[in-house]
Amino acid sequence: MICRELIDIIDDYLDAVLAPDVTQELERHLAECAPCGAYIATYRQTRRIGAAAARVDMPEEMKARLRRFLAENLGGA
């Protein structure tokens, strides 16, 4: 396996959906290739922190404004 091939299937590897023989081949490459080792570690961490950063809460005052907006526009609440 070469670096390009590894990076193309990195999500499937991290999601553990690769066939066992492909996983073995990928891990053999990883054991010998420091750039790919660094790439996969930072890619995995990117997935984690990207998701964590996007988990925003709707502010309570915005919910209150939404209630008022719906009451005015739909005649309820």
Partner: protein
């Protein structure tokens, strides 16, 4: 859509405050998260939430599609958010091609060795999500095209399957997987350029 959801929407459309409150409790946060993820503006996301609620209450009871209410809401939110962003802040979006890995002719990575082996993944997550690192991360997310951010939020935050994301954004599963991969690679590249250099 379930019979219960259809009844809830019909009550909300008739002005039943309790039904509206139930809809809000169940869906407002996820609508806001997705709208903010795409628009990257609290003010725009608030307008999207209001617009989406009007749409689901006014059109929901007559909705004939087979999709679940939540999927339908995700689809409306995605479309409304992308429409809101149309023509805005394009200057921030970097060409993704510049942020993808480069390869030599033999398929191995190309570039400065120190950059290629730069590994900031050992930095604790709470540290990466605070201060200067957080700012770098937010800027990297800002630079992604809107429709890339849409699939990132649907997949990584809402934790939907690739199939569900594809249905919501109206694309193929293969296209969604490619977009996710390119978005994550572009984020990783930007983070490594800036966090790796500090390590």
């Amino acid at each position: 859509m379930s019979t219960e959801d259809r009844a809830l929407l019909a009550r909300a459309a008739a002005g039943d405050g309790e039904a509206l409150e139930t809809l809000m409790t169940r869906h407002a946060s996820r609508i806001y998260r997705l709208a903010y993820g795409i628009t990257r503006s609290a003010a725009d996301a608030e307008e999207v939430v209001q617009d989406v609620f009007l749409q689901i209450v006014q059109k929901g009871a007559g909705f004939e599609g087979r999709a679940a209410l939540t999927s339908w809401i995700y689809r409306i939110t995605t479309n409304t958010s992308l429409n809101k962003r149309r023509g805005k802040r394009r200057e921030l979006e970097t060409s993704l091609d510049e942020l993808l890995p480069r390869y030599r002719a033999d398929g191995h990575r190309d570039g400065d060795r120190a950059f290629l082996v730069s590994d900031w993944s050992g930095t604790p997550e709470r540290e990466l999500l605070a201060g200067e690192s957080r700012r770098i991360l937010e800027e990297a997310i800002d630079r992604l095209p809107d429709h890339y951010r849409a699939v990132l939020v649907l997949k990584d935050v809402e934790e939907l399957s690739n199939e569900d994301v594809a249905q919501i954004v109206g694309d193929t599963v293969a296209a969604v997987k490619t977009r996710l991969h390119r978005a994550r690679m572009a984020l990783r590249e930007q983070l490594t350029m800036r966090l790796g250099a500090r390590g």
